[in-house]
């Protein structure tokens, strides 16, 4: 789900950069004020673990490959703004060091995976924790954050062939419309969501009493 360079139009990534940078500054301000000194080593260790985890992909039939994120567990342990900042940092390092996700597409990856994923996990947990068992609520937080991120990436990619065409009607950037890209991204990420839900459950239960 890391969008590479060349898929996103400047009309999309330039405004996305402005929004993303504004949100990152705001989240850094919140992070400065809210994070306790004792929590930093835990956040650093989890970020390092998820940096590696995001590099591990599971090849699926049909030639696609998927990977876990760890967004939900950081969001539930440290808050969604801290998770947004931490996961954006990981995505930025992946883009610059591995070329995994592009520089021009970084704000799309950051907003859809780090921002939407963190807040979706946070609010899913708030809504479901009083209605369901804690384990199920944690699982659903991880599951829903993965699917919402995949859907956001699919929508951003899928809108391109409708909006940006050359004089011959040929797509200038990402060429596949909603009918192809939404199932291509969402279906494999149902499997990732299950893994992410389990990861969230294990990590949050193991660490939340220590913070």
């Amino acid at each position: 789900m890391h969008v590479p360079d060349g898929f996103i139009a400047p009309h999309v990534y330039i405004p996305a950069y402005l929004i993303d940078i504004g949100l990152l500054f705001y989240s850094f301000d919140r992070f400065k004020r809210s994070l306790a000194e004792g929590a930093v080593p835990y956040l650093a260790s989890l970020s390092a673990l998820y940096f590696i985890l995001m590099s591990i992909t599971l090849p699926l039939p049909g030639g696609t490959s998927v990977h876990a994120f760890g967004v939900a567990s950081i969001s539930l342990l440290f808050g969604p703004w801290t998770a947004f900042l931490s996961i954006s940092l990981i995505l930025f390092l992946q883009a610059t060091i591995f070329g995994q996700g592009g520089i021009t597409s970084f704000p799309i990856n950051s907003l859809s995976v780090a921002f939407l994923g963190s807040f979706c996990a946070h609010y899913t947990h708030i809504i479901t924790k009083s209605l369901l068992r804690d384990d199920i609520s944690l699982f659903l937080s991880g599951f829903s954050s993965t699917l919402i991120s995949a859907l956001a990436v699919a929508l951003v990619l899928g809108v391109h062939p409708y909006l940006f065409k050359d004089t011959f009607g040929k797509p200038l950037y990402f060429p596949f419309g909603f009918g192809i890209v939404i199932p291509a991204l969402l279906l494999p990420h149902i499997l990732v969501g299950i893994g992410e839900g389990m990861l969230t459950l294990i990590v949050v239960k193991a660490l939340r009493n220590k913070l």
């Binding site: 789900m1 890391h2 969008v3 590479p4 360079d5 060349g6 898929f7 994070l35 000194e37 930093v40 080593p41 956040l43 650093a44 970020s47 390092a48 673990l49 940096f51 590696i52 985890l53 995001m54 590099s55 591990i56 992909t57 599971l58 090849p59 030639g63 696609t64 490959s65 990977h67 940092l89 990981i90 390092l93 992946q94 060091i97 591995f98 070329g99 995994q100 990436v153 699919a154 990619l157 050359d166 011959f168 040929k170 990402f174 060429p175 596949f176 192809i180 890209v181 291509a184 991204l185 494999p188």
Partner: protein, 138 residues
């Protein structure tokens, strides 16, 4: 630590980024696309452009080995774009000249180096933050 070590080793086999290799065969260029785990980027759409030209010089799908083969009409900068419906893809710049156009694959050492560099940056940034917090607290 055991888990991290395991993941570190494992991640080198299953990294996510699409890689490529450029080779010259006579007057033609072969660009091979593959994932670091060895999976080929097979049967995916591609487009080849001479820099500044539109429409594309060549379009098609990669072969079973994830290759794009094209024979440039002239020397200069060429671009090969490939993409799959799930958002994987790459844009490769090919400088086609007298000496041809060749680029070697990333070795395992480069992947270790990248992974360790990323971990170093992450832990370093958080360490600086921890030091800052301790100084502020005093």
């Amino acid at each position: 630590m055991i888990l991290v070590s395991f993941l570190l080793a494992f991640s080198l086999l299953y990294a996510h980024d699409l890689k490529h290799q450029i080779e010259k065969e006579g007057r033609c260029i072969v660009v091979s696309f593959f994932f670091p785990d060895g999976n080929r980027f097979s049967y995916e759409e591609y487009e080849v452009y001479k820099e500044g030209d539109n429409p594309p010089f060549q379009v098609g799908r990669t072969d079973a080995l994830g290759r794009v083969v094209f024979c440039p009409k002239e020397e200069g900068i060429w671009w090969v774009k490939t993409f799959s419906a799930d958002g994987h893809g790459a844009q490769v710049r090919v400088d086609f000249g007298e000496k041809g156009a060749e680029e070697k694959r990333d070795g395992i050492f480069e992947r270790y180096r990248g992974l360790l560099a990323g971990l170093g940056w992450l832990l370093g940034i958080f360490a600086i933050w921890e030091i800052y917090l301790r100084r502020v607290k005093r």
